[in-house]
Each structure stands twice: as C-alpha cells, then as structure tokens.
C-alpha cells in the first residue's frame, strides 16, 4: 500500500469535515442550543478549513484534476504561508481546530472527522516517509493554459 497517496484522501476528508462543522454549527446557533457559541466557532472553523483545503495539491506523480474555480482560492491560501505548505503544520492545525467543536453535540461529528483528517496528514508526513513540505508554492499554482 506504499504508493497510496494519503494526502489526497486527507484533503477530501478535511474538506468534508469542514462542511460537517459548518452544518453542525448552523444547527446549534440557529437552534440556540446550550453553549451555542461553540456552534458559532464551528461555523468559522469550518469555513476556514474549507478555504484551506479547497485547492487540491499536486500529486507526487501523474496529473492532478483541479477543483472548479481553484485558482482564485489558491491566491488566498498562499497568503497563509507555511500553513498551506507543510503537512505537519496542517495536521496539528486541524487537530487544534477540532477540539473546541467537541464540546457541543451538534458538532461532535465534525470534530471526529477533522481529527481523522489530521491523523491522515500526520501519517503522510511522518510514517509514510513522504516529505513534510510536499506542497511547495509551485504545486499550488494552477497549471499553465
């Protein structure tokens, strides 16, 4: 299983987690649940995660299918500097972002999913020997033409 591109799956999982966090956050905030402010946090965290994960990074080898409208997001994401390039940083960032949402029932699924995505990124950077800074600035450029 050495050739599996775990980073691609981590990206899909993190994007899905972002959407789940947003949904859970909206439910908690709109329903004014107990401790609904965690819900508001979830919405913000979810939007941030979605923005960060939307541009699909370049594969190690082979061609990469870009997501629709990726090039506009890429400009924004590059502003985040090492956050967007380094898998270790992403793994710990996602872990950190997921913790507060775990205090609220409506967003606990988002926490679990984001924690799993964080685990996969950690796997990519540590265990599988793929370089931690796999996402170089060039890799986030849209291909020419």
């Amino acid at each position: 299983m050495g050739q599996i591109e775990w980073a691609m799956w981590a990206n899909e999982q993190a994007l899905a987690s972002g959407l789940i966090l947003i949904t859970g956050g909206i439910v908690a905030t709109a329903g004014q649940f107990t401790q609904w402010y965690f819900g508001a946090y979830s919405i913000v965290a979810g939007v941030f995660v979605c923005l960060l994960e939307y541009p699909r990074g370049k594969r190690r080898k082979g061609s990469t299918m870009e997501r629709c409208g990726q090039k506009y997001m890429t400009k924004v994401v590059k502003l985040f500097g090492p956050l967007s390039r380094n898998y270790y940083v992403r793994a710990f960032l996602h872990l950190g972002l997921s913790v507060p949402a775990g205090f609220l029932l409506a967003t606990i699924l988002g926490t679990a999913c984001l924690a799993i995505a964080s685990g996969i990124y950690l796997l990519v950077s540590g265990v599988c020997g793929q370089p931690a800074d796999a996402m170089t600035p060039q890799s986030l450029q849209p291909p020419a033409g």
Partner: protein, 567 residues
C-alpha cells in the same frame, strides 16, 4: 430511435419509482409520528423534530436495504442469464448497477444528515425539558420515571449533564457515531479522483461497510425514542388528561402514563441483502479455491502481460470481465480485467498492463520485465472470480455494427473481433452480421501492440478465407512526434502501413465523425446499425449525438442504435 427512447425512459421510470417510494415512506412516517396519539406526550417535549428523525430513519432503512443489491455481481449475472424475464431494455438497466449504487448512497447521505440534525435537536429538547425553567406539562413529563412505579419518557434525567456525554453513554449514541464515521470515510475515499489515483485505498476503505451494517443493526437497541404503551393509552385518555397533569398521581381517571421504547427494526430491513452479500463473498471464497491453470504467458512490449488460463466450467461471452486475485501479492485484493479471448477458444485470456502497484508486482512475478524465463511450477497461483458484466454479443445481432474504442477501451473488442472470426468461419448458424466497422483511437499504439498484432492476424486469415469485406478497421493515432512524421511521409506510398504493418493505413489525428457516419449511412441505407463504444464520457456524448443526427426520421431508413459499455 425508438429503442433509445425506450431505454432512456425505462431508466427514468425506475429512478422516479425509487424516488417515489422514498417520498411515500418519508411522508407517511412523518404524518404518522405527527398524528399518532401514543406519541403525543413525546411531541410535547420534542415537537416536529421527532417526526423528521423517524421519517428519515425509515428512508435510511429502505436505502440501506437497497445499497448492497447492485453490487451483488453474481445475483446480477444470474438475473441477466435468466433471459425469460429480462430482455432488451430491462437487461440494459442491469448494466447501470453502479450508477444506482451511487444514487442510493447519495440518498443515504441526505437522509443521514436530516436524521442527525433532527436527533441533535431532540437531545437538546430533552435536555431543556429538565431545566428549572421548564413549566407545566413539559416539566411534569420530564419528571416521570423518578419513582419506582413510573416509566420514564425523557431519557435525560437531570439538567446537570451535557448532551454529548449523554449520547456517548448509550449504545445508540456510540453506534450512531460509528455509522456516521464509517459512512463519511467510505464517501470521501470513493470520489472519482481517489478511485482513479488509488484504487486500493477506495477498495480497502469501502470494507468499513462491515462496521456500518453491524452498528446499524444495534443502533435501535437503546430504545431512546419512547411512546405511550397501548395498555396505558386505554386507561389514560390523552385528550382529557393532558390538561390535568397535576392530578395524575392522585386521580383514578388519569393514571400516570407508561412509556416504552420502540424495538429496533433496522435489522429486519437489511437482513436479506446482508445474507445475499455474504453468499456472494462465500461464492468468491469457493471460486478462490477452484484451480486455475495457466497455460500460456506472453510478455508483450510496453509492459503488457498476456495470460492464457483454464478453469473448469468457465464459460464467457465477449465483453465480460473477471476479478483476479494473486495470494502471493495480496490476500485481500481482487482486480477487474476484461476478457480478451473468444468464447470459442478452449482457454480464456486477459491482457494486464503494468499501471499500478499490484499490476507491476504481478508482471514482475510472471517474469515480464526481462528477467529469466520462469518454469510453470514457479509461477504464482491465481484465483479467478467471474465472468461478470454485460456481454457485447449484441454486436452479432445487427446486420451492420460500428465498434469504436478509445485507448484502453479497446480490450473488450479484442474478444469481439476474435469471436467474429470464429463465427464467420462456421457455416451454421448463419451470421446476421455482414459488416463490422472498427474504429480505434489512441494516443500511442505502442501500449497496444498486441492488439495491432491481433488485427494483423485477423486481416491475414480473412483474406485467406476471402472475407476481407467483413471487417473494415480504421486506426487513429492522436499523439505523434516530428520524427514519426518524416518516417511516415517517406513510406506513404507503400502497401502496408509503416507503423502497424497493416494493409489499412493509420490515420493521424482525431476522426471526423460527421464524415464517417455520413459515409456509413450512405453505404447502408435502410439498415439497422448498432454502434458500440468503450471509452471516455466526452466522446460518448459526441457519438450519441452523431447517432441521433444521422438516423433517418423515416422508419424504413437507416437507424443507428447506440450502446455504451460501462466497465
């Protein structure tokens, strides 16, 4: 044209029927939970979210029942084989099994979202019901169950807790979390991108469905959603007693209402399909133990391995595929390969291109990469399951057939063309098919040199039999460099093609489909022409358009019938 309308409308009708059943189940269950008397007191605490949660639960049960059926390959092959009930357009619906599987998965995702949101709200309402600000009937209902002769309605017994820990202390909550996580992981690893880049990840993660179904079966065991028992309903008139909650303890006219949880029902829905799928897997294990004899190994250039195999009671039709497993590489992986031999041959063959981990290791194990020749007893053992899939035998049912293959889509046509050769040599039964046009579009013919060899041998044998008119093939190379251009231009006037060695010249660039279809329609006026395609979606759309454009409005005129193969 009529066949196209019939085929497409049948798919639409089936999808609308499925959608209709979903809607009916949802609305009917919703209505029941909104009106049912035994849930009146539950609705006082929960409101409409009870009905939303239960209605989506019934739809989830229905869709989880359906989801295993489209991937029960042996069941589908069995239904396809039972041709009494399945003819023509109905059989074509069986080819869309994977599309239906995905559709049902989307429905599960939508219903799961509704279910989770509704139950999150329910738990919150239960929690609020225990707060000191709760008044009246709500407070009275939440307090039920505090004394020994009462059964509780509100599963959350105190306000001084949080809903998350309440959830995680129940079987229902934990199993619900497991189901959701398993489902989300399956979905994120099943996107088209992941399937194309890493098939193994998709394959292994999909096996989380085992956790999904086990958790689903035990999910209702917590019996958290409670309704009034029938005995209690007969003694406690809800319409009257709801306004006299302060007197429930004392008055004989309104005894304290008793509640019980609904028994789990998900297992009843999914038991049948799970048992069927277990049988599928048992069949695969049985087939794994059946001996497969490798009779020939051919290593083609550009990393293509051809394997000739024999297996007892194996019978195939052109266009079908098999699943191959090599225990010495991996015990868990079964990979699909299209069969490239004709049914008339006494062996079956596959052509395997070294494109990923597993295929590269297999090619190396068979000595494909220039290593020393391997003795037959040193070859790794293979297990074969199948054959599965739609047969391309319809090619022989039309008087004229047009076969179009793009890139790797050429593989099923190898079986068809070989079968054609055998069929045209047999005088009985006479062949309806009198002409085959074969179009092959590929970027680089090097990866498919074995197919060019096949065409060369077919060309030779047909000219020996005097049947050169039967097959007319056109090869289009869409990728070529300058050196090739000079070489081709230099040898343009020779009898055989300089790249393939075939008598029919190779074309460079993409075919002009308008010209091709116009020419075919002109040559065969009044015929029914079958068009068979295997390749990328974009080209499929173009060809469908061509079929519609060049089919005559006159029923006696030429008609193109489009058949897309889904592999």
């Amino acid at each position: 044209m009529e066949c196209w309308v019939l085929n497409e409308s049948l798919s639409v009708i089936l999808v609308l029927s499925w959608l209709g059943i979903n809607l009916y189940l949802f609305v009917d269950t919703f209505h029941w939970y909104e009106e049912e008397e035994s849930f009146f007191y539950t609705r006082v605490i929960l409101g409409s979210t009870l009905a939303w949660a239960r209605a989506s639960a019934v739809c989830l049960n229905f869709n989880c029942m359906l989801i295993l059926l489209p991937i029960s390959r042996n069941l589908i092959s069995f239904i396809r084989g039972a041709s009494i009930c399945c003819r023509g357009p109905w059989r074509k619906q069986l080819d869309k099994n994977l599309k239906f599987h995905k559709l049902v998965a989307y429905a599960i995702a939508v219903n799961a979202t509704i279910h989770i949101v509704a139950h999150a709200c329910n738990l919150e309402h239960y929690h609020q019901g225990q707060s000191s600000e709760a008044r009246g009937l709500l407070a009275a209902l939440s307090k039920l169950g505090d004394t020994s002769n009462e059964s509780y309605l509100n599963p959350i017994r105190t306000f001084h807790t949080n809903t998350t820990s309440e959830l995680l202390m129940t079987i229902t909550g934990i199993s619900g979390l497991m189901i959701s996580l398993a489902f989300i992981l399956i979905v994120t690893s099943s996107t088209e991108f992941i399937r194309q880049t890493s098939y193994e990840l998709f394959w292994y993660t999909h096996h989380l469905f085992i956790i999904f179904f086990i958790s689903l079966a035990i999910h209702g065991a917590g019996r958290i959603v409670r309704g009034q028992t029938p005995e209690s309903l007969s003694r406690h008139n809800v319409t009257f007693c709801r306004d006299h909650y302060a007197e429930w303890q004392a008055a004989a006219s309104c005894p304290v209402p008793q509640f019980s949880g609904k028994e789990p029902s998900a297992w009843k829905w999914v038991l049948g399909p799970v048992v069927l799928y277990v049988c599928e897997r048992l069949i695969r294990i049985w087939r794994f133990h059946q001996e497969v004899v490798i009779t020939k190994v051919v290593s083609h250039p550009s990393g293509v391995l051809e394997l000739h195999m024999k297996k007892r009671h194996f019978c195939m039709a052109p266009g079908q595929y098999v699943l191959i497993q090599c225990p010495s590489i991996s015990w868990l992986e079964w990979h699909p390969f299209t069969l490239t031999s004709a049914p008339q041959e006494d062996f079956f063959s596959v052509h395997i291109r070294a494109a990923g981990d597993w295929t590269r290791t297999l090619c190396r194990a068979f000595g494909a990469e220039g290593q020393a020749w391997k003795e037959p007893w040193n070859l790794p053992r293979l297990a074969v399951d199948g054959p599965f899939g739609a047969a391309l035998t319809d090619v022989f049912r039309y008087p004229v057939s047009v076969c179009i293959a793009a890139g790797i889509g050429v593989t099923p046509f190898a079986a068809v063309l070989k079968s054609l050769w055998y069929r045209c040599c047999e005088p009985q039964p006479p062949l309806t098919l009198s002409k085959v046009y074969f179009y092959w579009i590929c970027r680089d013919s090097r990866a498919f040199e074995w197919f060019a060899d096949l065409l060369l041998s077919l060309e030779t044998r047909m000219s020996e039999q005097g049947k050169t008119h039967l097959l007319s093939y056109h090869i289009f190379l869409t990728g070529w460099d300058e050196n090739q251009v000079f070489h081709i231009a230099l040898h343009w006037d020779e009898n055989t093609d300089v790249i393939t060695g075939l008598k029919q010249k190779t074309f460079y660039g993409r075919p002009n489909w308008n010209n091709e279809f116009r020419q075919i329609a002109y040559t065969h006026p009044g015929s029914s022409i079958g068009v068979f395609f295997c390749g990328p979606k974009a080209l499929s759309k173009t060809l469908q358009r061509m079929c519609r454009l060049y089919s005559s409005a006159d029923p006696r005129g030429v008609h193109f019938h489009y058949n897309k193969e889904s592999f």
